[in-house]
Symmetry: C3
Subunit: 313 residues, 3 copies
């Protein structure tokens, strides 16, 4: 495995989920696997869980992790090939990625989309610039369109807690005050479908996700209907994909509350965090036993560890 | 010991002081005590001494330290329970602290007060939110009202250099151009009194500290009188406590100079740094053999090491 | 060796170049040399290559590196002796450097010039304040007037790739949109001359470098003439030295292109990065086999490792 940027296939996903569960049981199982290797954790955007869980994962594998907040500590990056660099951008991604490629054994990159250039975001332009110019194995720490380590952690969480082989998993859109990327929603959908769960996606009309990620899911615009009998409810905001990057309306009524789960009494509720309390999800749910958000966040360590270990092998 | 956030009692203080002195003699005395453990150093405000001395202390104990500048690298935190998070704050302290609690073995936190909400600051609201929601042992790296690792380092310094069992220790207010928190002054007073020193506090009227921290000290408004025969003079600015967070007047005449120490010829002068030279304290004192500021800063390593080792035991 | 801030003499340069080449062959050759030692990497300005290559170099020597972005994570520094600190600066360099001196075994410092105070910059004021007040061995990670680790890496690169004992090395000024410091140009000139290469410097009139660094080089205002038969062409912008810190004119025609290298068919092209593509240097050169920029950047690790190991010995 050279890149860890997306869902590949069910077999690999199963392997990674099992590996993550083994690491959760015994974090130091492969404590020398990464010895003498270095991973560069590159951030073009803020992070809490992703950075620290990946640092810990690397450390558990005996690997040195070096964090670089490229947006703050380093030089503003030019992304366009052929640009005449006479503006604010100080260094071209070609050159920066090339250098980082010669300093590390593996790179891991967080690069949010601009939400202003649909085609560039859709082809995961920045991520692919890093892959192309670094020449290294690369792990996505959330790109323009995917957040695979989050989704792997989510699949691990479902695997641990499901009470039937093919649980009903509902991805429900939630209100937010800002235009939010599609990465978590895309990835969750891609992985949940790929792992064989019964997936329903519900959102107000106009918030359809890119179909590349939702093939195999049921799209249901009636939230109440979608939530009925759910085993797992994944709450997430995203901005419009068709009217790219827009907030179409506030839709406060889409916030998930206990009231809405009356017909899904056993539903576990998931969110990748950070969560806007009482906007996306009510306190009553987040602070109840239904909530898996802390469980998911903890599994981020072992998901990252599984992904890194697969690349190291 | 689960929390290291305040002065507990003389016996524990003496233990910590002795431990710090042992580590100063032999920094690697307990070099495997923290093996396999992780400490998260969380900063909501800038730091130089505190961050680096704590990193070194952890490393001396064989422990992995991970620094997170939460104000810069991560998400803006909502602190209020029940908040409807439709403004600038991205993540609730409940969720962030919970996640960090599952990633580390010990947390250490710097959280300055706003100086705009007296009751919230007085009850050390942010610190206690982290304690409550992380579920981990926590070390204060300066909270709204205390700076215990600084005070322990100060007590170690006095212990090393005192020439009588019960030295006269004077805490003297100094001018400053900004509204400064009370944490260092509170803690120093609390520790110096608790350790059995003879403590005098001197400041212009109106700058009385919170009485919780000064019980047992002599309050003397006449600076000259207060300084007479001092063995140790601790210089520090703080804003008003009663008229909360206010600068009442500039009082430039309160700057400590050699002239003011004529009746305290052997006084050693202390300050926690950073110090405003020639505003709080004159160059002539800071650059003279009276000054213990570098000595104190160096002891920060061993104070932190003593505190961490007590928690690890 | 106590300081690594400039070119000392050819013998030491040769030793360091050979050492760097040995480390390139075998990075872990001296993997325990720095055991139990700590290096503080202090940045007053952004960095990518310098920070990470130095971190890796320290790690290869078994040494703990702690990075402090003093401009962002710590307190604004007052540099002037005797200042009355009643403005924005929070801590005096004396005090900060003193503390850092007691926390580390070696310091490494990046401090760009203001380009507004010629005499202060010319005497490398900030660097020398750190040296004076820290009392520690210090490595320059680019000061006001020199960038020695870059130049050592450049000399290693030339040593590896030269095809005659005394290659023709041309330093050619390049256009830029900002006023850029002289450090890289000064150091490269100082080292290339000191290492015995045949050095030509070419730039528009008015951009003469400080003569301290160019003694022994040929100054040639005709770029085409200067470039003829070059073996190595080092491209770099700098602002005027005489009219200190000024951009005299844009001189777009000075950008290096293939066309300009017609009479230097075998010339290898060097740049320290970050480079403004199609402003300083054309894409066609940077993306061609002529370009050594990635090679140079990779050699930064081994140059840093050689310098640190010399100080440790």
């Amino acid at each position: 495995m050279k890149y860890y940027t997306q869902f590949e296939n069910k077999q690999l996903a199963d392997t990674l989920i099992q590996k993550a569960l083994e690491y959760k049981e015994n974090p130091l199982l492969d404590k020398t696997l990464g010895q003498g290797k270095r991973i560069g954790l590159l951030f073009l955007n803020p992070s809490l869980r992703t950075r620290i869980s990946t640092q810990i994962a690397a450390s558990n594998l005996g690997m040195e992790a070096i964090v670089l907040n490229m947006d703050k500590e380093s030089w503003a990056l030019e992304m366009e090939d052929g640009a005449i660099m006479n503006q604010g951008k100080v260094e071209h991604i070609k050159d920066a990625a090339g250098v980082l490629g010669s300093y590390f054994d593996i790179l891991a990159l967080r690069a949010f989309p601009s939400l202003t250039n649909k085609s560039e975001d859709s082809e995961d332009f920045i991520l692919h610039q890093f892959i192309k110019h670094s020449g290294l194995p690369l792990i996505s720490l959330e790109s323009a369109i995917r957040h695979p380590l989050q989704s792997l952690a989510d699949m691990v969480t479902i695997e641990e807690l499901k009470s039937k082989p093919k649980p009903k998993v509902v991805l429900t859109w939630a209100p937010h005050i800002k235009a939010i990327p599609h990465a978590v929603a895309n990835s969750f959908s891609e992985w949940a479908i790929g792992c064989g769960h019964e997936v329903t996606i519900t959102h107000p009309e106009g918030y359809e996700l890119d179909e590349r990620f939702t093939k195999g899911a049921t799209i249901e615009y009636d939230q109440e209907k979608a939530l009925a009998d759910a085993d797992f409810v994944y709450v997430k905001n995203w901005s419009a994909f068709n009217e790219y990057g827009k907030i179409l309306r506030t839709d406060e009524s889409w916030m998930l509350t206990e009231q809405k789960l009356l017909k899904a009494p056993n539903a576990k509720v998931m969110h990748c965090l950070p969560v806007r309390r009482n906007v996306e999800l009510s306190d009553e749910i987040l602070d109840s036993p239904r909530s898996l958000v802390q469980h998911q966040a903890n599994n981020r360590i072992y998901a990252a560890q599984a992904a890194i270990s697969e690349i190291l092998r």
